[in-house]
């Protein structure tokens, strides 16, 4: 049984021109202790997917429904809103992209940490502070006791993210959702934070859902990769397979676009075209308009996600065989 099972998730937004379907019939699952990366360009729907799991999306204007969202076998959609807090931060935790705005600027770090702890464990303030201090130490913040009394603006970006992580881990959740945790940080810090997350997950045997657009960090942190495009998963495979044998032209394109693979003097590779607006998603393959590898069928019929063996799924009529990323 998977830790988290999402079945046919649909997310739409109420706009001036009608309901825009941003995520269509999304299904995936995450097993205990596994790190899964959800990758895609901006606007493909990955962030809203992550938010929707814990029902953090503001509905309206958003509108979400799924056949089921099972966590440890139970459909968490059935949980009434007033009981959701028991799940959040406790069984499932989430960290966000912008650590500066994600922390309350007028409350001390200590307070922000202890209120979660006390909410979920009911322990005393003293105990909570001690636990908070431990957490800060765990995430590698020097002088944790001092930090408890400080405010977010007194820390650097990297440190704030560490605090966010500490907060997320403080109640020993089984699943950590990390929405672009390093995007807003300095390049030099990104690695550190990523390593911190990955380590923590491994140590605690915690599952990880890592949302990112950066294929580079996927390689480091994930066991499995799901590539998302225009509200659908287009390829799912282990991280090894994705890098060695990417089959979906989109995945291929993304890998090719990584600057490191270019040679001096060459132009950067760019997937032509742009992600279409959800109002204009094609009824056939949504990637077809931009695809160099498209065939006739791609423009007529919508492909389904198919298992091609070895835990490799693909949604394509004309996948790239052989898996040479430079093709």
């Amino acid at each position: 049984m998977s830790l988290l099972e999402v079945n046919k998730l649909n997310i739409g937004f109420q706009g001036g021109d009608g309901l825009m379907n941003v995520v269509t019939d999304l299904s995936f699952d995450i097993e205990e202790g596994k790190a899964v990366a959800l990758v895609g360009e901006s606007g493909c729907g990955k962030s809203v997917t992550a938010l929707s799991i814990m029902r953090l999306l503001i509905c309206p204007p958003a509108h979400m429904e799924a056949e089921s969202i099972l966590f440890e076998g139970k459909d968490i959609q059935q949980i009434p809103e007033r009981h959701m807090w028991k799940l959040r931060g406790n069984d499932i935790s989430m960290i966000f992209q912008e650590p500066m705005t994600s922390l309350n600027p007028v409350t001390t770090i200590g307070k922000q940490l202890t209120e979660t702890i006390r909410q979920h464990t009911g322990c005393s303030k003293k105990e909570a502070l001690a636990k908070a201090e431990d957490m800060l130490r765990e995430v590698g913040i020097p002088e944790p006791k001092q930090r408890l009394r400080e405010y977010p603006h007194q820390m650097s970006g990297g440190m704030r993210q560490r605090v966010m992580i500490a907060m997320a881990l403080s109640c020993d959740p089984k699943l950590l959702i990390a929405d672009e945790p390093t995007t807003a940080l300095d390049v030099t810090i990104q690695d550190q934070i990523l390593e911190l997350i990955a380590d923590a997950c491994r140590r605690r045997k915690m599952a990880l859902l890592l949302i990112t657009h950066n294929m580079g960090i996927v390689a480091e942190a994930a066991d499995e990769v799901m590539v998302m495009y225009a509200g659908q998963i287009v390829e799912k495979a282990s991280v090894q397979e994705i890098f060695d044998t990417p089959m979906h032209p989109y995945t291929n394109g993304m890998l090719r676009a990584i600057p490191g693979t270019a040679h001096t003097g060459e132009e950067f590779y760019v997937i032509r075209g742009r992600v279409p607006s959800p109002l204009f998603f094609s009824k056939a393959c949504r990637f077809a308009p931009r695809c160099d590898h498209a065939c006739e069928r791609c423009h007529k019929e919508a492909p389904q996600l198919q298992d091609i063996g070895g835990g490799h799924y693909i949604r394509c009529w004309n996948p790239i065989k052989g898996g040479n990323a430079n093709e």
């Binding site: 503001i58 807090w85 406790n90 935790s93 912008e98 994600s102 309350n104 600027p105 007028v106 405010y151």
Partner: protein, 328 residues
């Protein structure tokens, strides 16, 4: 908090040259206004009675032939010795007159402020939660209407309706003269009855804008990331609101209070006149109409002080509530 103390002291020190500049400028402006400068020292009635020779003598005696700056310092000298001088109209020491009126004006304004916040804030939050609903649109509309309606018209309509036609409330003043030996509580209730209309009208006109400001503020805050984080880490909605959202919403409002200190002096002239309430608003404005210069200078000084103190209080409150600002 040593730096905090230093900050406050520095600000207080800065006030002194500022006050000096304001009063000097006002004094100069008044001397420039056309007409006999004696009007600044001798009341109208007396002025009319004096013959030209008497005027000249008085001019000498008052030292009006000396340069303006010297005369200003005379006035300043009086102030520093703790006296505002005496009013032309009444011949009474101005401190006494202000003292007699300040109580009622302050109570009136504080109650109004309190009520406006008390009703305006929850109303604004309700509007924000039910954005674009009927109540929200009504309040938005109302905020424009409230500002546009002239106070005196509203007052008269209210008095005509509630005092004359319906006879629910008294029409003017602060006490019912027909009460015989009222008990303490009867007196309290009597005063409250008299204040319902003046306070009510001011609150009603200001409510719309307060609710609107609050609503926008709330919408701003509630969509902030840290509110989302608070929810994500498992705080029940109530704690999300009270622990995180509201505090940040209150922030700007708490500091606004400081700014409204200055309105205490002149703000309520129309209400005070129509409802026959003896307050500072009527006092200071009437002084201007009567050309009662010592009173004008005194109330001017008071307003300036209040404005500056008000802003200082605002800034202090800001520092207290928002730790980000303390660093500076």
């Amino acid at each position: 908090m040593n730096s905090g103390l230093k900050f406050v002291i520095k600000r207080l020190l800065v006030m002194i040259p500022l006050l000096f500049a304001v009063t000097l400028a006002s004094y100069l402006l008044m001397t420039i206004t056309p007409g006999d400068p004696m009007a600044m020292y001798v009341g109208q009635d007396q002025l009319r009675q004096m013959t030209p020779t008497q005027k000249e003598q008085r001019r000498e005696a008052l030292g009006l032939n000396r340069p303006i700056i010297v005369r200003y310092f005379d006035w300043l000298d009086d102030i520093l010795h703790g006296t505002f001088g005496t009013s032309f109209k009444t011949g009474q020491p101005i401190e006494k007159e202000i003292g007699q009126r300040i109580g009622i004006t302050m109570s009136l304004n504080i109650i109004t402020l309190f009520l406006t916040y008390l009703v305006g804030i929850p109303l604004g939050i309700y509007c924000a939660k039910h954005k674009n609903g009927i109540v929200d649109n009504a309040v938005m509309l109302y905020s424009y209407v409230g500002i546009s309606l002239p106070a005196f018209w509203l007052s008269i309509m209210a008095i005509t309706l509630f005092a004359v036609k319906l006879k629910w409330l008294p029409g003017l003043g602060l006490s019912d003269l027909t009460l015989k030996n009222p008990t303490f509580w009867q007196e309290v209730w009597d005063t409250i009855k008299h204040l319902i209309m003046p306070v009510g009208l001011t609150v009603i006109t200001g409510l719309g804008s307060m609710a609107r400001a609050e609503r926008n503020l709330y919408l701003d805050v509630i969509n902030q990331d840290y509110v989302r984080t608070a929810r994500a880490k498992g705080l029940p909605e109530r704690k999300v609101k009270w622990g995180h959202a509201y505090r940040n919403v209150m922030l700007p409002l708490a500091s606004e209070i400081g700014g409204s200190l200055a309105g205490l002096i002149g703000g309520s002239y129309i209400i005070e006149t129509i409802f026959a309430i003896p307050g500072l608003g009527a006092y200071s404005t009437n002084a201007i109409l009567d050309r009662d210069y010592p009173v004008i200078m005194a109330t001017l000084l008071m307003s300036s002080v209040l404005v500056m103190v008000g802003y200082l209080v605002s800034d202090i409150l800001y520092c207290v509530v928002d730790p980000r600002i303390r660093v500076q």
